[in-house]
Amino acid sequence: MKTNELHIERSPDTPEVIYTDNDSTLSIRGRSLPEDAHAFYSALIIWAESQKEIYHERQLYIHFDLDYFNSSSGRYLLEFLATLERSLRPNTRTEIVWFTDKEDELMIEKGEEFQQLIELPFSIRFL
């Protein structure tokens, strides 16, 4: 079986990204402010693309716990989600969860924007 594992450490302007097959969860946590987010997100987009190589029935959770992200990151986060949407096999049960504080209007709004653009199951949960 092809390994899926992913681990990118947090930096002052990029979030931590972890995926382990153990819990089938990709979590993206921290703040994302790179001026050109392409360099950072290309690894994630490639990961999303590679999901089409996985044929067996399975679950996949995507957890976002972002303090904040800039417009360039927003563009590539969307590209990541759109790539994922295209790449996942129908027998993958997926859930995207957008964690945020219930008073953080900005991040709630950002979550809703992705929710409207993406067809995968997408829920916003308050921490």
């Binding site: 002052p12 360039s72 590209e79 953080d104 209007e105 900005l106 924007e113 409207q116 653009l117």
Partner: protein, 411 residues
């Protein structure tokens, strides 16, 4: 002065096409100040021009940072991060870095030593100022801080004494002070001043002005020169710093910055603002909205700023008006970029919150379906959205190839 009186219904692209873009014509683009009645009293053409005025006043500075906020976090280390970029870019000298860092820290500690505890914690508005400038091989640190009137004679005497000594004498007195450690507050202050004189190798400039019955302002300037030929006498910023101090007070500006806008500089700037200038009491997530606006504005400069050598140069200032924050930013752009910016801004003009939201969604859809490989003005759309229409822009011609682009946004 309300922005409403200055609304300029300009047909932007017409002006560009008819090449009326000559001279330093007023060229403001306002976004809906009329409909929404911007509650930010600083919102005026004069404020919009502040960016250019500040840019010109610091034209020779590779870096200029004026700070009038509380000192909650270790600001020195952030300033050192920013200055290290500037210094490393121009000289690559870590020795200079270390000297300048030492002087910055020592100056900060001197301010803190004399300041009222409540002021430092931001409980009352901070009444002092800290300014750091780098011009080529000269590094100048200015500070203005309140001291008790009874401390004035001691401080004057100490600085005069330190200034009259050569390096051997300073070394001697430093050791003596250490051994006979008079651990009183005064002793500590004396030691700090001796260290500043020793490490800078220059005379300390100072003066006192009245603050109120109990306190005076202690103005101090420390210079470090990375060149034997330079003369520090030419670098007297006591007056200009005081002017700036007063101006910042009047306009309630907390921080002004001219310098590099690459990512390595933007992140420490953002940290200074987030950790010190945004009062969490003004709503837990208000600071986030300000930070959001700020990062987009700073990165917009970085993206469009005309590059001087490998540095991206521009200015920004952050002010506070009651519960609101406002950001004024500016940078030099070339003719092509000017036209590109105008086109994007024209599309944003007069759009309300919902229309901006729609436009954003449309752009995001284009990205999804790969119709558009660029960021397509996403940053400016975010700026317009974050400021909820309290956004104004201005272009001032510098010469045929360059224009100064200013932006005012309020959140």
């Amino acid at each position: 002065m309300k922005g409403a009186n200055y609304f300029a219904p300009s047909e932007i692209m017409n002006r560009v096409n008819h090449s009326s873009f000559t001279g330093n014509t007023e060229f403001p683009i306002w976004f809906q100040p009329r409909q929404q009645g911007c509650s930010c009293a600083q919102f005026s053409p004069k404020a919009l021009r502040e960016a250019y005025r500040f840019y010109l006043s610091a034209i020779d500075d590779d870096l200029c940072l004026n700070y009038r906020g509380p000192f909650l976090d270790d600001i020195t280390s952030r300033i050192i991060d920013i200055s290290e970029n500037t210094i490393a870019e121009t000289k690559g000298l870590s020795k200079v870095n270390r000297k300048v860092s030492f002087l910055l820290v020592e100056c900060f500690q001197n301010i803190i030593k004399h300041s009222d505890h409540n002021e430092l914690k931001g409980a009352t508005p901070f009444s002092g100022m800290f300014a750091f400038r780098n011009q080529g091989q000269a590094y100048v640190i200015n500070s203005i801080n309140p001291v008790k009137k009874e401390e004035v004679p001691f401080l004057s005497k100490t600085v005069d004494m330190v200034n009259s000594m050569d390096s051997e004498a300073l070394k001697h007195i430093y050791k003596r002070q250490l051994i006979h450690a008079d651990l009183s507050e005064k002793g500590g202050a004396g030691l700090g001043l001796i260290e500043l004189a020793r490490r800078s190798g220059q005379q300390l400039n100072y003066r006192f002005t009245d603050l109120d019955e109990m306190r005076s302002y202690f103005h101090q300037q420390v210079v470090f020169l990375d060149s034997e030929e330079m003369k520090s006498e030419k670098l007297n910023h006591l007056d200009s710093t005081y002017d700036c101090f007063n101006e910042m007070g009047r306009s309630e500006i907390l921080m002004q910055y001219k310098g590099d806008f690459s990512q390595r500089s933007i992140i420490p700037i953002l940290d200074i603002v987030e950790n010190n200038l945004l009062n969490p009491e003004s709503g837990q997530f208000h600071y986030k909205k300000v930070g959001h606006l700020l990062i987009e504005v700073l990165q917009n400069i970085s993206k469009h700023g005309k590059q001087k050598s490998s540095k991206k140069s521009g200015v920004f200032m952050l002010g506070r008006q009651e519960e609101k924050h406002y950001i004024i930013a500016g940078n030099v752009v070339g003719a092509d970029e000017r036209d590109g910016l105008m086109m994007v801004l024209e599309e944003l003009r007069d759009k309300d919150e919902n229309q901006l939201k729609e436009l954003h969604k449309q752009r995001m859809k284009e990205i999804m379906f790969r119709d558009n490989s660029s960021n397509a003005g996403l940053g400016l759309i975010e700026i317009a959205r974050a400021s909820k229409g309290k956004l104004a822009c201005d272009f001032q011609k510098i010469d045929d190839n360059s224009t100064f682009f200013s932006l005012f946004a309020c959140v």
